[in-house]
């Protein structure tokens, strides 16, 4: 269990303010570079690029200030990145967006609930399956019976078994 315990101080150290500053500068550069592609106009008659460029410059300046003047002492890094969990959650969101219309509410909720549940290291395949099944039932009751969601219960993929 120790690897999930956030209270244990991590040996690696980081300087979050410096990194945050750099991140903001990077974002500012991307947006600022994009803004130069639009018409600038002038203060009295601002073009579409005016506000974004102004904001990018502000963000960049704040980022530099943060990187330079931010807390310089390093702090304990907040533990390992939840790569697997984050990836599973993102994959299930993308699957939901892409296939919910074709698969229908029940299959897509089961699939996404299952994948998402696996994002937690405490869920086994079996418990994830139970969670997904319970979620499917709950979503059917809440969204289909209760709120009349427009998604089909079983989508067109199931051919003649399709249920609205």
């Amino acid at each position: 269990m120790a690897e999930f315990n956030n209270l244990q101080p991590n040996r690696t150290r980081s300087r979050p303010d410096f990194l945050a500053g750099l991140t903001f500068v990077a974002i500012a550069v991307v947006f600022g570079w994009g803004a130069t592609g639009y018409e600038m106009g002038q203060l009295i008659a601002m073009g579409p690029g005016f506000v974004p460029l102004l904001l990018s410059i502000m963000l960049g300046a704040l980022g530099i200030a943060l990187a330079v003047f931010g807390r310089s002492e390093s702090v304990d890094a907040p533990g390992a990145l939840p790569w697997r969990g984050a990836a599973l959650v993102c994959v299930s969101l993308v699957l939901f967006g892409a296939y919910s219309r074709d698969l229908g509410l029940l299959p897509i909720v089961f699939l996404c609930g299952f994948l998402t549940a696996l994002a937690s290291p405490q869920n086994s395949i079996v418990s994830a399956g139970w969670i997904a099944a319970a979620l499917s039932l709950l979503c059917w009751l809440v969204f289909k019976v209760g709120l009349g969601l427009s998604l089909p219960l079983l989508g067109p993929v199931f051919g003649s078994y399709q249920i609205y």
Binding site: D17, V94, F96, A119, C139, L151
Partner: protein
């Protein structure tokens, strides 16, 4: 007497079966998400926003408002019982509330929180009813310059929402404003930062952004920190306050209510500020300040009253100016707009049934909350034992369904993932997402008022003749 006839109208609106039912659903859900750590009212309201399309405007807003103030009640339960603030504003309650629970006085702490919240909520609702109409009349005279200045003030005060560095909060506001510029420019129609995606022409979907940074990013964070902790929920016994307790909490509740009512009006999340301010005040005024931090009942009564009063009065800037004081208020503005109502000073005059209906429903909702929170406390304690590993898949699935059902657009669901990752990176770097969301909502408004202000001044000064001539030619 005008007030009485208005309140009568409010009662008429709020006391329909449908509105009472959805008010109950709202406060019930609010208590639930307030109790459960790892999901807050912001993510919940964002998820439910699309569902309220089908409701009438009054019903939709009564329910959404109920979730918000209900969460303030629920948050204190978690703070007291397991020292984990379910809501940011209950962080202060956890200090003394948890100590009281450890000393076997959990029941009294909960009763204090609920009664203080009820008194504060009812009083602040009255403040809202009395103060909002005259304020709205003043606001009717506001022009573009005044609105622009108010919005800037709102953004700057939102820095107080973030606990950490001012620079980070400012940068988050700027980032939010930048995200707000994505989409077609209002004046020229030029698509900005759309990368060719048709879906981005209307701008980034607000629900995707809110669910991403407040819901999914939180999940990423909790995946590593909220492991199956053995929740040591304190036993709740003896909910009755003694006469001595009542005497001790009377003044803190009154002071907390006053502080909360005033600070709640401030744009930028006065409720967190209010609970901190109340705690500091009680500690200073107390005859035995050494008790604070070790289970002082005043340290629960004051802040809890303050944050509930503030939750109610934070509707004032929203209903009188159309300016959100808090990310949740930003979402409620979204609900207004989806219902075809422009939030602002005209709402009170044009939609009296809506305005007074919401106010009366808040009072009804507060009564429901006391009943939900005191006699049914055992139920909420049970809820606390739901492990997070069961809870978060439900959050993700509900968010997907809610977001997808807005207009059946897969892009909106993909966007949740993108903003979830962005939000997590920012949280990891020590930046809180609340100022970002506020910047995102206020950004387009700011640009709109800036452009209008520009037009007005250029007309007034007779400057910029070239521009006008150009326009005449067109």
């Amino acid at each position: 007497m005008e007030l009485l006839s208005h309140l009568a109208l409010g009662f008429e609106t709020a006391f329909t079966i449908q509105n009472l039912l959805w008010c109950f659903v709202g406060v019930l859900l609010g208590t639930l998400v307030g109790v459960l750590p790892g999901i807050g009212p912001t993510a919940t309201i964002a998820m439910l926003l699309p569902i309220t399309f089908t409701f009438s405007p009054v019903t939709a807003l009564i329910m959404l408002a109920g979730i918000y103030y209900g969460a303030q009640y629920g948050g204190s339960t978690t703070a007291i019982l397991i020292n984990l603030p379910g809501e940011s504003s209950s962080a202060v309650t956890a200090i003394d509330g948890y100590q009281m629970a450890r000393k076997g006085r959990a029941g009294r702490a909960l009763a204090t929180a609920a009664l203080g919240s009820f008194f504060a909520g009812s009083f602040a609702t009255l403040v809202l009813a009395v103060a909002a109409p005259p304020l709205a009349r003043v606001a009717l005279n506001f022009g573009a310059a005044e609105y622009f200045s108010l919005l800037v003030l709102g953004l700057l005060v939102s820095i107080s929402l973030a606990h950490g560095s001012v620079l980070k909060a400012l940068a988050m506001i700027a980032l939010g404003l930048l995200l707000g510029t994505i989409g077609q420019d209002v004046t020229s129609g030029t698509p900005r930062y759309t990368m060719g995606y048709q879906e981005l022409f209307g701008g980034v979907n607000f629900v995707s952004l809110a669910v991403g940074v407040f819901g999914v990013a939180e999940i990423f964070k909790n995946l590593q920190s909220l492991s199956d902790r053995e929740v040591g929920v304190s036993r709740v016994t003896n909910l009755w306050l003694t006469g001595k307790d009542l005497r001790r909490i009377a003044m803190p509740v009154l002071r907390g209510t006053g502080l909360g009512s005033v600070l709640g009006i401030l744009p930028g999340g006065g409720h967190v500020l209010a609970s901190f301010a109340s705690y500091a005040a009680e500690k200073r005024l107390s005859k035995n300040p050494q008790e604070f931090g070790h289970g002082a009942i005043e340290g629960v009564a004051g802040p809890e009253s303050a944050n509930n009063a503030a939750a109610q009065t934070s509707f004032i800037p929203l209903l009188t100016l159309g300016i959100p004081a808090h990310p949740v208020m930003a979402l409620i503005i979204g609900a207004f707009i989806l219902q075809g109502i422009t939030p602002g000073p005209t709402v009170i005059e044009d939609q009296p049934a809506l305005f007074w209906g919401i106010i009366v429903s808040m009072w009804i909702g507060n009564i429901m909350l006391v009943i939900l929170n005191l006699p049914l406390i055992g139920l909420w304690v049970k809820m606390l034992t739901i492990p997070y590993r069961v809870l978060f898949p439900a959050i993700v699935v509900f968010a997907s369904i809610g977001c997808y059902s807005i207009d059946g657009n897969p892009f909106d669901v993909y966007a949740i993932a993108v903003f979830g990752v962005l939000g997590y990176v920012l949280i990891r770097l020590g930046c809180e997402p609340a100022p970002l969301l506020l910047g995102f909502v206020l950004g387009p408004l700011l640009e709109h008022f800036a452009v209008r202000w520009n037009h007005l001044t250029s007309h007034k000064c007779g400057k910029n003749k070239g521009l006008e001539r150009r326009r005449e030619r067109m």
